[in-house]
């Protein structure tokens, strides 16, 4: 079933279509929340909250071209709210980011899978060292694949800023990866 076929059913409250919708977007929502929070459990709770919010506004789910940016906007807002709350009331313990990428089922052999996981972890750590705007531009453009106009609307910054920051953010990320010994 295609997402475009499922969306009208989702808006009508069909539970099977809703389950398809959740399965279709849960990886993206959880991945984005994980990149923002760097905590798997927090990201899982946030992703669940995002789906509950979507479920409470099912009639507002847009059609396919605008569906992903809409979900990403909701996820980003939830993550920023969560980070503000965490900044105001930090947790008693703060564990480092878990190696979540091992959870993915792959067809690679174990050595390749391990190397890929190590590289993803390095990229994730390098992303955490970027400035907030640069990291968000990388997250939305390079990782989630959104267009420049959509990113400018989500981040509420001028389009020119997104354009100029986009390559600079990629370059900054590559420099951090070079410093970590990757890319040579």
């Amino acid at each position: 079933m295609e997402l475009s076929q499922a969306l009208p059913l989702v808006r009508r409250g069909d539970e099977l279509a809703w389950e398809f919708f959740v399965r279709f977007f849960q990886g993206r929502v959880f991945g984005l929340a994980y990149h923002y929070t760097a905590q798997a459990e927090d990201a899982r709770d946030l992703a669940q909250d995002v789906f509950v919010r979507i479920y409470q506004n099912l009639a507002l789910v847009p059609d396919e071209p605008g569906c992903l940016p809409w979900i990403i906007r909701i996820t980003r807002n939830a993550c920023i709210d969560h980070l503000r709350r965490r900044k105001a009331r930090p947790p008693l313990w703060d564990l480092p980011a878990e190696e979540l990428f091992d959870l993915r089922a792959t067809d690679q052999n174990p050595e390749e899978a391990h190397l890929a996981a190590v590289r993803k972890t390095m990229v994730h750590r390098a992303l955490q060292e970027l400035t907030d705007l640069n990291r968000e531009i990388i997250l939305l453009k390079e990782i989630q694949g959104l267009g420049l106009e959509e990113i400018a609307a989500i981040l509420e910054v001028p389009l020119g800023t997104v354009k100029s920051r986009s390559n600079r953010a990629r370059l900054e990320l590559a420099q951090k990866l070079c410093a970590a010994g990757m890319g040579g």
């Binding site: 399965r23 990886g27 959880f30 669940q48 390079e142 990782i143 989630q144 990629r170 070079c178 890319g183």
Partner: protein, 228 residues
Amino acid sequence: MNEPLLPPEAGLDLTRAILARTSGPACQRLHNLACAFVDGELDSAQGGLVRLHLASCPSCQSLVGALIETRNLLPALAQTNPGPWFTQRVMRATTRRPAPQNATDRRPLWWKLMHRPRIALEAAYLGAAAGLVGSYLPIPTPPVSLRVPAFVHPLGASAQRVKSQVVQAERRSTLALQQSLRPKAATSAEPRPTLWQRSSAWARARLRAFRSAPPPPAKGNEASPANP
């Protein structure tokens, strides 16, 4: 005669030396073009120049290598598996269920209100408020006339006369009691005193009596004759 005059290593050193004395290294220019080069957006001439620089600059080579690596890796980070039970958790949190119809839900509203944890606090608050308001209200006076029903004794006139005398005596004593109980304010134009005012007057009277009483003899005065 097409043989180069210098070996390749010496040629690179010479290039670096000349660039160092003229425009400086071209790495910054390459940084500006690196993303477009990786994305294949440069024309063939600019692409050739970039390739020429990369062949002789290891740091720019590693930078472009990292850019290529991230371009291949980043889209794969878009989706991360949230775990095997995530979908079930979301479905459990979002599926509509009818409200359970058990015995507790069929209880009346007053029962539910009475069994809230805050009911004792609310009752105490209301009681305190009622007491405060009541202390400022005027005290009601008994009715002016007390009706005594007519009494006819079935045994005879003498007994009825005695009885009427008793009744009249009771009426007189009741009226005297009413006169003594009736506050003076009821007859005058002044407002009736409240419980608060009465208690304040009582406290003032006690204070006056305490002040007017002679002070008790001090211990030092008693001991003074013994120890002059």
